[in-house]
């Protein structure tokens, strides 16, 4: 075929017509959006949640969304620089917990940024002991602390990992004031480090997750690597929404045994402390409201369909969509609750 002016014009026109629906759907949003996440790992739950949501949202809006695992500090920096809406951030509760714990490089997301819609919950945040540990339950642990025994808890400081540890100390304080001093942190890094701290006998309790540690709980007791769950921080309502089969050998009913109310870590003597690890979006404070509105509408549409919800559940996430206004108010209230607990133990 000879390429003349007419054929070139016709080809350009066809491309324009084909591109029309996509352009229309995303008219308020840039064609290419970068979703930075508050984790540098592409093997963790943040990347997984971001990938699933970004995939569904990009199809719905007809735009490209690229997930970049840059970590909290670089993520907030990239977001702060870009008011055009080409950079958005997906993160979880660490976004404000890091700030509450005073970790450098963790700004207050409610101050310099706009905290947006909530997306999903990972119900897996857990605490474990060695299978042959003298402590079988959280009650054993808190009783031991009250009796003056030192309990070493391996955590990664300054975030989701530490909030459960803070709650344990708070519960010890409520039960027997002063006994919280017997629950001490072993500051480690990755999940591998926390596991290793247990294998080396350096920690009595470790923070972990259902996803990363379930297989270790299936090992025989004489195996040095064998572990046992003692506490899942998620609310029972959240766990009830998880697949009945659970994960691996741990069914949903088993999970409920390790969560409130069956396993109680008290907040104030009457109610239990619970913590759902929620994932949400954060925007540059000067991003156009129409763009945020378009994302809210896109999310509402994808969460109304079964496909995304099924995919999240399959990956052991609980769908938890709340539009920007509700999500932001909910997270601010949540932040205030945890601030009280953290401040009480300072």
């Amino acid at each position: 075929m000879k390429l003349n002016r007419r054929t070139v014009m016709a080809a350009a026109a066809s491309v324009a017509i084909l591109a029309q629906p996509m352009m229309a759907a995303a008219q308020d949003l840039p064609r290419n959006v970068r979703m930075v996440i508050g984790s540098t790992s592409t093997g963790g739950d943040t990347y997984q949640a971001a990938s699933i949501v970004a995939d569904a949202l990009s199809k719905q809006l007809g735009i490209n969304i690229k997930v970049d695992a840059v970590g909290p500090s670089e993520g907030f920096k990239a977001l702060g620089r870009d008011k055009r809406g080409t950079t958005i951030m997906l993160f979880h509760d660490h976004a404000y917990l890091g700030n509450l714990y005073g970790i450098a490089g963790n700004p207050d997301p409610f101050d310099g940024y706009l905290v947006g819609p909530t997306l999903t919950i990972n119900p897996g945040n857990a605490y474990l002991v060695a299978k042959n540990s003298p402590y079988q339950t959280m009650d054993d642990i808190l009783t031991a602390a009250a009796n003056g025994e030192r309990i070493r808890v391996a955590i990664q400081p300054g975030g989701v990992s530490e909030i459960g540890f803070t709650a344990m100390r708070n519960a010890a304080r409520v039960r027997a004031p002063g006994s919280e001093e017997n629950i001490v942190p072993v500051n480690t890094g990755s999940q591998a480090d926390k596991n290793q701290a247990m294998f080396d006998g350096l920690a009595d309790v470790i923070n972990g997750s259902i996803q990363a540690n379930e297989q270790f709980t299936a090992l025989p007791e004489n195996d040095q690597k064998a572990m046992r769950f003692v506490w899942l921080t998620a609310t029972p309502e959240t766990l009830q929404k998880s697949p009945e089969a659970g994960m691996g050998a741990l069914s949903r009913d088993d999970m409920l045994q390790y969560a409130s109310p069956q396993t109680s870590v008290t907040l104030d003597g009457t109610t239990d402390f619970t913590f759902d690890k929620e994932f949400f979006l954060i925007y540059n404070k000067d991003m156009k409201p129409e763009m945020m509105q378009a994302i809210d509408e896109g999310l509402a549409a994808v969460f109304a369909q079964d496909e995304l919800n099924a995919r999240l559940l399959e990956a052991f996430f609980i769908p938890d969509f709340q539009p920007m206004a509700e999500g932001s108010a909910h997270l601010m209230k949540k932040r205030d609750t945890y601030r009280e607990v953290i401040d009480a133990l300072k």
Binding site: V70, E74, A104, G105, V186, S190, D200, Q215
Partner: protein
């Protein structure tokens, strides 16, 4: 047959494509195997687990191997784990033996890859059991052992060790990160630079600045060199490559592959340590240690079999404990989680088909890497004959692009490249040594973390000597390495003195 369920044309194609793209990523300074896997990770969504892993494993093996090409031909390590390949590979290329050096590197890569794959296939659970015996103390001692190579690599021992410590010092700039169990506090950052330096200088821009940009600046200073002409390069029939090069090197090959595999199974020790340790071991056990760094093929053999030995080793903790052995296997976990497959101590038993498909993918990737690179060598080796006024701008452009993209588009990384390029150029004038500096820079952060965590955990310095038999064995190796380096330095000084005297007495 179950094997045919995954062994489809698509599966084989993805391994081949992955290996080829991996080699290209590895061969471009500033682009790494880790980056290749990160870029292609989202593709595994649509490919399914077996096919997705085939692609990623091809990228992994290709990416680790491709680093030797610029290391040998241009003296710029394509990946951090091929730094030690430059020490002997580049002098060989300068002598016109680039093709021979490449062939040695590629054969060593294949042997390293296959030995570690065999270790993975036959001994994965047992090796993982052994790996968990290494606590902070033993990991610190391994890093310390690798750091002793600074002394062996120095031209002038005192200045070399000083350069190494300077590298460690600069590597500690930035936050003591909470993700490493630190306190999240900033330290050593010059006032006003907190915004840029909160996580210190990135490794890749530092590396390509010191090795790439500094070389170009040095060349620019003396005027544009003509470069080697095709007549100077021994290719084809003139390259005189024969398997005889490997005569007497079987121990080196097996030992280096073993060291690579072993470093791989230890989470958190890092890929660069594999080739550094292999190189140290080869040099200290050699009868002619002074020939290392001047184009001794044994140095390339040690470095390349060591870094490819890492590939199988790093899969051991990933598949037996759910814990990645290095930065690239940390990305591979993403492929499993995206597909909803749990990796942990029960993985191999629960997923025998996936396990088989991964082993076969790695085997095919190693073979594909060997064939692709072995037959491309003749043309690759001619890169050095490209006129420098064309080659240098291309290298410079690749360095800048690599630095900019390594952390997903941070402009400060390009400034880092420039700063360390100028630093590398000035360093030689100040008689500082780049090789010990970069080794200190790479290993410094892990040395610090494991040292502090050991003390936090056990509360006493004596634990480094009393923790276990492994610790004592490591001390023996450290002492051996230090004594070897001192003896080498003395012999060299005596030789220089004798030469000076011989010249003085006509």
């Amino acid at each position: 047959m179950p094997i045919l369920e995954f062994l489809t044309p698509m599966y084989v194609f993805l391994i081949l494509a992955g290996t080829l793209v991996g080699i290209i990523f590895g061969a471009i300074p500033g682009m790494t195997a880790t980056m290749a896997v990160a870029v292609c990770l989202p593709l595994t969504y649509s490919l399914g687990l077996d096919n997705g892993l085939a692609l990623l494993l091809g990228l992994y093996v290709g990416g680790i191997s491709g680093g030797l090409v610029p290391a040998i031909l241009l003296g710029i390590p394509g990946t951090p784990s091929s730094i030690t390949t430059t020490f002997d590979g580049y002098p060989m290329a300068q002598r016109g033996e680039g093709e021979k050096a490449l062939r040695i590197g590629i054969v060593s890569s294949l042997v390293g890859g296959l030995i570690s794959l065999a270790a993975l296939f036959f001994f994965a659970p047992a090796l993982a059991e052994f790996a968990i015996k290494f606590s902070y103390v033993e990991k610190f001692l391994i890093i310390f052992f690798a750091l002793t190579v600074m002394a062996a690599l120095s031209e002038d021992m005192l200045l070399g060790i000083f350069s190494g410590f300077l590298g460690i010092f600069i590597s500690l700039i930035g936050v003591y990160d909470v993700t490493d169990g630190g306190n999240g506090e900033y330290r050593l950052i010059p006032p006003g630079l907190e915004y840029w330096l909160d996580y210190g200088f990135s490794l890749l821009p530092v590396l390509i600045g010191l090795f790439g940009l500094a070389t170009i600046l040095e060349a620019a200073e003396v005027g544009m060199p003509k470069g080697q002409s095709l007549k100077d390069i021994k290719v084809g029939a003139h390259s005189r490559f024969s398997w005889g090069v490997f005569k007497g090197q079987v121990t080196n090959l097996v030992r280096s592959s073993g060291i690579g595999t072993f470093v791989g199974i230890l989470p958190g020790v890092g890929g660069s340590a594999a080739s550094i340790l292999s190189y140290t071991a080869a040099k200290t056990s050699s009868k002619n240690p002074e020939s290392f760094g001047k184009g001794n093929p044994a140095g390339i053999i040690a470095s390349e079999s060591g870094n490819n030995g890492l590939t199988g080793g790093a899969m051991v903790p990933l598949l037996s404990l759910g814990i990645p052995g290095d930065a690239t296997t940390a990305l591979l976990i993403g492929a499993f989680t995206l597909q909803g497959v749990q990796v942990g101590p029960l993985f191999i038993g629960n997923n025998p088909a996936t396990w088989d498909s991964m082993i076969i993918a790695m085997l095919l990737a190693n073979i594909a890497m060997f064939i692709m690179m072995y037959f491309a060598i003749r043309w690759l080796a001619m890169v050095v004959a490209v006129p420098k006024h064309i080659l240098f701008p291309v290298i410079l452009m690749m360095c800048v692009i690599g630095a900019y993209t390594i952390n997903y588009g941070i402009m400060f990384d390009v400034w880092t490249l420039l700063i360390f390029g100028i630093f590398g150029w000035l360093a030689t004038k100040l008689r500082l040594e780049v090789a010990p500096f970069i080794i200190g820079f790479i290993l410094g952060p892990s040395a610090e973390i494991y040292f502090i965590k050991s003390l936090e955990s056990f509360g006493t310095l004596t634990i480094f000597f009393t923790k276990s038999w492994i610790a004592m064995l490591l001390w023996a190796l450290i002492l051996g390495s230090v004594i070897g380096s001192i003896m080498l330095a003395r012999r060299k000084a005596a030789l220089e003195l004798a030469q000076a005297q011989a010249q003085a007495e006509p």
